[in-house]
Amino acid sequence: MYAFSYHQPKTVRQAASLLAKNEDGKILAGGQTLLPTMKQRLAAPPALIDLGKVEGLSGIELKGRSLVIGATTKHVQVATSEIVKQAIPGLAEMAGMIGDPAVRNRGTIGGSVANNDPAADYPAACLALGATIITNTRKIPAEQFFTGLFETALEPGEVIVKISFPIVSKAAYAKFRNPASRYAMVGVFVAKRGSDIRVAVTGAGSNGVFRATALEEALKKRFSPKSLEGVSVSADGLNGDIHASPEYRAHLIGVMAKRAVTAAIGK
């Protein structure tokens, strides 16, 4: 790890101002990605702005037909929250599948979304559920938020405050883990809200999370795993590495989508 300066703001405003002042500074939330990369000298931010002491950033509440989760809410809180389990059980289950117990007890929803790791789970949930990412300055629909590998629509000095998920009738996540890292090699989140059916895929796309429109179209006819039989997913634009070729990933998207739909119907 290289030397860096450490800041502990008390408010979101202070955090945003510190972020604006420190070029290449990084927000520290749960630190489950940032700290290991710093320890391996792969990242060297000159300043860390720790959100740990900022009041009011953590928490889960229902607001009308939306589930609102504060940015520093930890994965374990989402996974075990009665509110989330009632409102969108598939989201609670997804949070319970992230990493390992240590990661779930430190890692935060805001950190995961802001980092936009192409193999992270939350981006798929946000995209499939049609979430809105609420920052200190504006509201960004998930569709516009995830812009590429580790890239988001966040501007310099912009801090995620909370994330709002519209409540859907059916939703579930199925993940095929990379055997080594246990990140999603293919993760498929399906959500059904009336006739709006979304299938979001993480871990597979060479440009990060994306919607599998061919699968969505098939499911619009009938929200059933049977609808996906014979629907092939193109390997174009999918990642290939030592663990999975683009063709294998394409195949797994279909398998995981079926499993997610089966799970969603069962809820």
């Binding site: 055997p179 030592i242 663990h243 294998y248 797994l252 398998v255």
Partner: protein, 787 residues
Amino acid sequence: MASTGIGAPVRRKEDFRFITGKGQYTDDINRPGQTYAAFVRSPHAHAAIKRIDASEALASPGVLAVLTGADLEADKIGGLICGWMIHNKDGSPMKAGAHPALAVGKVRYVGDHVAVVIAETQAQARDAAEKVAVDYEPLPAVVDMNEALTGKTVIHDVAPDNRVYDWHLGDKAATDAAFAKAKHVTRLDLVNNRLAPNPMEPRAAIGDYDAGNDAFTLYTTSQNPHVARLVLSAFIGIAPEHKLRVIAPDVGGGFGSKIFIYAEETVCVWAAKRVGRPVKWTSDRTEAFLADAHGRDHLTHAELALDERGKILGLRVHTKANLGAYLSTFSSSVPTYLYAPLLSGQYDIPAIYCEVEGVYTTTAPVDAYRGAGRPEATFVVERLVEVAARELGQDPAAFRKKNFIRKFPHQTPVIMAYDTGDYTASLEKALEMADVKGFAKRRRESARNGKLRGLGYSAYIEACGIAPSQAVGSLGAGVGLWESAEVRVNPVGTVEVLTGSHSHGQGHETTFAQLVSDRLGIPIDQVAIVHGDTDKVQFGMGTYGSRSGAVGMSAISKALDKVIAKGKKVAAYAMEASEGDIEFKDGRFGVSGTDKSLGFGEVALQAYIAHKFSGQELEPGLKEGAFYDPTNFTFPSGVHICEVEIDPDTGVTTIEKWTAVDDFGHVINPMIVEGQVHGGIAQGVGQALLEGVRYDASGQLVTASYMDYCMPRAKDLPSFQVGTTVTPCPSNPLGIKGCGEAGAIAAPPAVINAITDALGHEDIAMPATPQAVWQAVQRRLPAIAAE
């Protein structure tokens, strides 16, 4: 006494220390005035070093020195050695390139050692290491063995075709004749995947120099501190042996990777004198992946000749063994004398011929890893046998039984003389425990759920102990492979055992104490096992090759014999009886035919106060030593049966059942032995399903972290059913055979035989990852359509 004697499942004495965080590992040790080393490592697989500019690093905060290969040469420090000479078919010696601890002129793999930075703190050393400017002229990488053998790119000038040796064993003419009369020949091409050893504790070293006495101390993560001292003294030239103390304190796993004498440890002890202060280095996990010696990495073509009834007539094997960029300490022996002599397996094979080419590539050195050669041999034999049975339409268990060796001793065509065993007994017990009769029903059940179920066998044999010394010497070993022990009885009757074996997870503090408890009749908490310090313990050979029980404990046993013999003399004087009338039983020395007796502790006290005998008649004290060299290798064997279920949609293989029946001869502590079997199976399953070191074509290590190198987890394994059969080993006094490597040897072919049984074809290589299995399922589909 039986509760802590031989055969008792005594809880491990050392575990309290380990699980409460009170272990003392090398990195836990800090010396006054200690500095830190960071290595500048090659980012290239192969490159000429044009220039090293350390000026910016030297000007960095806290930096005390930047040292290179030129400094080693200036101090006349020799290169690292390979301690086992292999000869080519034509009798000429193998071609071993120089292996300087810090590169001279050239780097040969990613992670190769270019320079070392010594600084006040670890962070300062690492910061400055990045500032050492090295001007490289990149040369082509050669990762693939077949490409290396073309000699288009030469890694060491001494080996222009990158062939370290072209070695063979067995009778070619007899084997050719066997194939000429064969009715059926089974042929297989096999890949034995390269593995990273991954001990929980990474390697570490502290070099310390005492200018007052001109003496060095090296604290290091070693499985064999005396061998490290010998090599560092006699070959590398750090200091004469009496001026170099090597301490290997608690060591957190080795699996072979801590046998070897590496660059980092050598540099730390040498640099300590250079900077006049202790120098510490602790590997991080990335460095461990890059520079710990890897294991396995064979390409093999093998053929089995059979008669019309399925009796094996002959075996022909050609193996290319990747040895990496330099020859590590025992690397040359692993694919030769630790491999080919095991190719007879448990079978009566009249003729065997094996050729092995050792190959240099621009990858990390490859050396012994749990099993070392024997897993590779077992994989060849057990895959061939399974496939032969399938090709002949015979039941794989019956086929094995038909070909088993039944008479002992049995001389194989490849050096080994098996002393004892009962292979049929192990197989039959395993068939029963695994409920093989019920397999067909379970397979139908799986098929109904859309899953593929398969059953795989592995009937393995291994040669343990890596002794006697005369035998290994005749095969090219540079050292003797006996073991030593000293038993020091204290005046109050407590006992210290100084052993040349080294425990790095095996539980010696418990099992060795059980032997003492059993023999002397004292509780195990009155026994201390001392090891891992060359200033305390007499010269010993260390722990590897499942040798600590068979060889190390036999040495202790021999020393205990001498203690008891001396105790009888003392007791005779103390009780005014004749020595011939003294009997030792249950911890008491008694005079036969009387009720007179003395406890072991009372006799110990008599030995030290020496009031009852004159020092001219009998020396005071009670302390005996022994050096033990066995009469043969030991030959543990067994049968493992693996049952898998494959999800054809994803390619995920689940191990549903695992049955292991092993013959380890007499067992000291069945709980510890079972733990060794569990760990071995886990590593073998890791090799079969999950693990694999991968370099890309440019020689970059792709699997340099746990993000890409997949280790087995508890979830990947079933609950094991472990059983034993016992044929005591006749070549050591305790009848012990060795158990440390068995699981890792047995497991890979059992898993692959099960997977190929489920798939219905043989076309899959290790590791059988979900992707590999899914692809193999695709290759199966046309076959199913035809069914």
